[in-house]
């Protein structure tokens, strides 16, 4: 979609409400655009004429670049944050059009869909989860986890379990949400970063994200984990966590497959017994999932 077309479609009045059953999006306006890296852009969206969406951390929306198409993108804001954010990597026609959109442009939103990280906002201190939470993200994988980490850090400040955020990226410039990482660190989370390719100015760690596990300092036997990143990275990280003594049921992974509808009709997002738009994207890395992820497809 050319930006000219997007501009020409900018309405002054209000578009009709959508209907999920008809795969009709609810029209949102881009109110802020944040360039995270050279190919990752965050869009902050507001509905034109609909109540703000309520969702849970880890769920996704179908985002329409009008006239180009629709793709599944996880929310990268926390439900309590008051904004609806999506962080999008420019990898195809639709994601490119979304990344190119400007403040004021219209974007279609359908959702929220799918399962979540099971991060509950406890109303009383006694209900806070006392377990450590280990969040491991690779590259853009931090986006679907950003809201969860925010909620976990808040819970930790009120007496909930400790939060460990381990982030791997290809190179320093590909690390997203630097300000959030600093903020989480300042508020008590243990944040560790590592890159595959060091640049001269990088004085941090260099190596695979799993190397951050060893000295992170969590108690694997009384903790849970949330992983999001390339599937191979999640597999290796999950295995390493199990080796350290973590219960596989306590390890959640966020999976990705082709999605065309988000509502369980199109059949594209099948992974064995799962329809990932319905049963995922967040699933426990236990038993069947660990097998499915190593199933040969060639």
């Amino acid at each position: 979609m050319s930006s000219d077309r997007t501009l020409s479609m900018r309405p002054s009045s209000v578009a009709p409400r959508g209907n999920l059953n008809d795969l009709t999006p609810i029209v949102h306006r881009v109110v802020e655009r944040i360039g995270e890296t050279n190919d990752i852009t965050t869009l902050v969206l507001e509905p034109l004429d609909a109540p703000s969406m309520t969702f849970r951390c880890g769920q996704f929306n179908m985002l329409s670049a009008f006239g180009v198409g629709e793709i599944a993108i996880s929310m990268s804001s926390a439900p309590g944050e008051g904004t609806l954010r999506h962080s999008i990597r420019d990898v195809g026609a639709v994601s490119h059009a979304l990344c190119q959109s400007r403040v004021g442009d219209l974007v279609g939103v359908r959702g929220p869909f799918g399962s979540d990280w099971l991060v509950e906002s406890a109303s009383v201190e006694a209900d806070l989860d006392p377990r450590d939470t280990i969040v491991v993200a690779g590259g853009i994988g931090l986006a679907p986890l950003r809201g969860a980490v925010e909620e976990l850090v808040r819970a930790n400040e009120r007496g909930g379990g400790r939060v460990f955020v381990l982030v791997g990226a290809r190179e320093p410039s590909q690390i997203v949400f630097r300000a959030d990482l600093d903020s989480w660190r300042a508020r008590g989370a243990k944040v560790s970063l590592t890159v595959d390719l060091a640049t001269p100015e990088w004085d941090g760690r260099v190596g695979l994200v799993t190397t951050l596990l060893a000295d992170a300092g969590f108690d694997a036997t009384n903790s849970r984990a949330m992983l999001c990143g390339p599937e191979v990275m999640m597999r290796f990280t999950a295995r390493a966590l199990v080796d350290l003594g973590m219960d596989p049921e306590g390890i959640l992974v966020s999976l990705e497959r082709n999605m065309q509808c988000g509502v369980g009709w199109c059949g594209h997002c099948q992974l064995g017994p799962f329809l990932l738009c319905r049963d995922g994207p967040v699933v426990p890395y236990a038993g069947l999932v660990s097998q499915l992820l190593t199933q040969r497809e060639r």
Partner: protein, 156 residues
């Protein structure tokens, strides 16, 4: 060898599951060492005469490339080991290892350890087994990084 040194060696993760005798023998070749930020634990091309068990701090493994400076290939930290060139001829360092912050470690005399390993095959086997585990972990991590997982793999 002081009792203190033996205790330090015993609790290092590299020594996990080694028997009393082996711990004793390794400790006999060990000394305490500290490195200030920026100083070299070993330098490419130098004699590989030491095996380091890291206790605190981070160490970068790097190589100097003209025009690019010192390129860090990997970083290792507390609980890791640095250096296995002491184990195989010609006993020469392949990379630079540099302290990134205050580094505390146990420095083990490579020649001393080689002699003991040769005369006590059970120590030799235990050492090689432990070094193999470390090598395997590093090799697997390197292979994973070769996949360039986070890279852009678009077909077009």
């Amino acid at each position: 060898m002081s009792k203190a040194m033996r205790d330090l060696v015993e609790v290092h993760p590299f020594m996990t599951s080694m028997n009393e005798e082996s711990i004793e023998l390794v400790s006999g070749c060990a000394r305490n060492a500290v490195f200030a930020p920026g100083s070299l634990l070993c330098a490419e091309g130098g004699d590989a005469d030491t095996f380091y068990l890291l206790r605190r701090g981070q160490v970068s493994i790097s190589v100097h490339i003209p025009g690019r400076g010192s390129v860090v290939i990997e970083t290792v930290g507390a609980g890791d080991v640095v250096g296995w060139s002491w184990l195989v001829p010609p006993y020469r360092w392949t990379f630079d290892a540099r302290a990134m912050d205050d580094v505390g470690c146990i420095a083990i005399d490579g020649a001393c350890l080689r002699v003991k390993a040769l005369t006590d095959p059970s120590l030799g086997f235990a050492l090689l087994s432990k070094v193999s585990v470390t090598l395997l972990e590093r090799l697997q991590a390197t292979r994973m990084r070769l996949l360039d997982l986070y890279g852009d793999h678009r077909v077009q």
